[in-house]
Symmetry: C2
Subunit: 215 residues, 2 copies
């Protein structure tokens, strides 16, 4: 098997096991076993479990870079709803990472550096999207750029942690989880939305298909 | 030593070690060693590491119950700032728990049940506080109770995760971390605040002493 295929196999197995049991409870051995490869072969591709986690984080970054390509060119309420669902879908697939992020970065300076830099860069990109929303008359002119930045930060922290929060409760329906999360985002932004944008809010819920969660 | 003292000693040692190295990396043995007691003695008080984590969570709940006693009787902007700092100070002391919460509840059904029930109950209490703020003319009458509840939920998720978020960045000053967090809360609530309450915002920053973080 080509080296690239083996790496992909290892990452897929690791992601499945980490999501189910958390990365702390999974050994490199069990990942090798799950792939049907030897421990030595796994070690040849990734020397430590941390390297696998870093590789999975690189995949998150790469996926975001592709799908977030020039969101600021579509400054609509509809697109905002799509971005929210897209982000939650990604978080759901890499949910171990979003559950364990604070611990993982606390334990690995290298991951800390990467996640910190990525978060800063992404927040700047979302801020550009929000500024495009202001330009397009969706969001009212904010009191300051700093004030708009705080809205972005709070939306970011909320999105990163919504599925963790909802996991604390009993929830019955997929669509309910995503729609309720979007309800909260809408509530957050509502005072800042123009009248025209408010009229579009209800339609934007239709952009949310919420078909990625189990049950 | 009385059983209660030994339990306290174990919890204090565990909290220190968990905060520094995360609970996943600390064995019951190293906790016993840190306390200067035998492994058997530790086992007599807590059969598993999970039991120690549960006991620490009980302490969080007990502390909150004491300090959050009837916040709704002080529905002022000043008190809101104090509540925010109080919550962050508690999160800082038990920071391993707030870093690892999603993983811990995913791994222990009993902890899941307790944290879920506690979160639901506390959010209801904060909602009562927000309703008192409406009654006192600090917050404008919301569109609905649901709408006010979403504001509480987003504030809750933000507060629980602000220190984790800030840990991703380089920060130089204590006071800056807390004040910036409060800035974001103020930005969130600003559109809902009455004119009278907005005039009090600047003074409310003085309620934040922010002397609990290191550096």
């Amino acid at each position: 098997m080509a080296s690239r295929d083996t790496k992909g196999l290892i990452k897929t197995a690791a992601l499945t096991l980490f999501n189910e049991h958390s990365s702390g409870n999974i050994s490199a051995n069990s990942i090798a076993e799950h792939c049907g490869i030897s421990k030595g072969n796994l070690h040849y591709h990734y020397r430590t479990k941390t390297e696998i986690v870093e590789a999975l984080f690189d995949d998150i970054v790469a996926e975001m870079a592709v799908s977030w390509w020039h969101d600021e060119n579509q400054p609509t309420v509809l697109h905002m709803a799509e971005m929210f669902e897209r982000q939650l879908e990604l978080i759901w697939r890499y949910r171990f990472f979003y559950r364990e992020m604070a611990t993982l970065v606390h334990q690995s300076p290298e991951l800390h550096r990467r996640v910190g830099a990525h978060t800063e860069a992404r927040i700047e990109k979302v801020l550009e999207f929000f500024e495009a929303l202001v330009g397009a008359g969706v969001i009212k002119k904010p009191r300051s750029r700093e004030s708009l930045r705080y809205l972005v930060v709070i939306s970011w922290i909320f999105s990163d942690n919504w599925l963790n929060f909802i996991e604390l409760q009993d929830h019955s329906e997929n669509a309910e989880v995503i729609n309720t999360g979007y309800d909260v985002i809408v509530e957050l932004l509502y005072p800042y939305l123009t009248e025209a944008a408010r009229a579009e809010i209800y339609d934007s819920y239709e952009a949310i298909t919420a078909n990625f969660l189990p049950r």
